[in-house]
Amino acid sequence: MARRIGMMTIGSAFIFFLILIGLQEKVFAGELTEKVKDTTDKIIAIVSNQEMKQPDKAAERKRLIRQAIDERFDWEEMARRTLARHWTGRNDTEKKEFIFLFGKLLERTYLDKVEGYSGEKVNYEGETIDGDYGTVKVGIMTTQEKSIAVLYRLKKKGPDWFVYDISIEGVSLINNYRTQFNSIITKSSFQDLMKRLRTNVEEG
């Protein structure tokens, strides 16, 4: 019996030790996290501002959110990556129009998402930097106790970092659009892709 109690003490001490190690809080406040956090905080401030929720402020609200996203997102890089091998064959006018339309589509998708913001918690879970590329991992806790893993991919341009891809639960936005665009172009044509893009953006 005594031996058993001795074992139990050692056992509990060991578990206590493990808890202590586990409790060491580590604060992530890297450069990239700050960039993403700055933009996210700005957007959350706009969407949770009660005054801005008035119907007559809707346009102003959209403009402010758009501005905050534009500062951090690199639409051209995104456009290039989604067209991938089809990018090189395009002339400047086509490229310009594509960047504009694709940017609008992404902006609207993002806007629709943040418009529905209802107090979800955003946790910054770490970042990696490798040369001119970096990632920021974010966990979003929904009001339904569901956690969503989001990964921002950033690229350094000059002194600043810009987002060029967002992965949600492992699904990269850019990869997803690339697959869609490639399928449309190979089955029909680049012109058809542009036509569909235009319709989608106008209907938005």
């Binding site: 056992g11 578990i15 493990l18 808890i19 190690i21 586990g22 060491q24 580590k26 290039r80 990556r81 067209l83 991938a84 091998r85 990018w87 090189t88 589509l105 609207r108 998708t109 629709d112 998402k113 529905g116 879970e125 770490g126 990696t128 490798d130 040369g131 590329y133 990632t135 991992k137 009001t143 339904q144 106790e145 956690s147 991919r153 639960e169 492992g170 699904v171 990269s172 990869n175 997803n176 659009y177 690339r178 697959t179 869609q180 665009f181 490639n182 399928s183 449309i184 892709l193 569909r196 893009l197 989608n200 938005g204």
Partner: protein
Amino acid sequence: MWRRDKVLGPLGMKRKFFSVILVCCFFSLIDIRLAWPGSLSPFEIAMADSKAPHDHDEEYYEEVEDEIYDPIEPFNRAMFVFNDRLYFWVLKPVAEVYNEILPEPLRVSIRNFFLNLLTPVRAVNCLLQGKIDGFGTELGRFLINTTMGVYGFGDAAAVCFDIRRRDEDLGQTIGLYGVGPGIYICWPVFGPSSIRDTIGMVGDGFLNPLYFWPQEAAYRAGISGLRVVNSTSLDLGEYESIKKAALDAYVALRDGYHQYRKNKIKD
């Protein structure tokens, strides 16, 4: 059995129960330890993995496509349209009425209850994948949520102890051993899948208590229906926004499924 109990006595049983709890706590602690800073967290391991050449390759215009093979696309597209109609004409209207009747916290609890029942699927697949810590986590979660969480309606393990569910299934297990998805299949009602994941789904069925209980098929169907309507009611609007953002919703869903499963197998 009767004899053994008598020999062990009530004290012996208690001790047994206590040591099971201790073992579970121990395993879940390993999990917390792994997920927390200080050592290499699963995230860092995943990160090391995702430093794939495509991130740094300046030649990304020539990027190799990683798409799921889809030789039965005409059939799949037809099923996609069928599921789309099923959602907008049947499932969504029903879920909207259901939404009106039950408040959200109650619907979250019902989802938790079903997820708790599916613990055997996740726990066994953790074992099959050699994730002993995950097995401990699932066992610990089941004990905590069934008791403290009252039959699993509350996710006490996540709320009080931050012990999160480990989503493992047979499709992922088979994938971990190097088997690819085969071909893409869009099943009517069940939606996006692959050969591998269909086999996995059938295999996991044997570990799903709702396949055996209750014995009357009508009740079983009713419970499955409740589960589907309940989970739909919590995700209303998600399918719509995917569709709205897509230029080809069928391809968007197919690729989304492929990427999602690849990521699940990796972690």
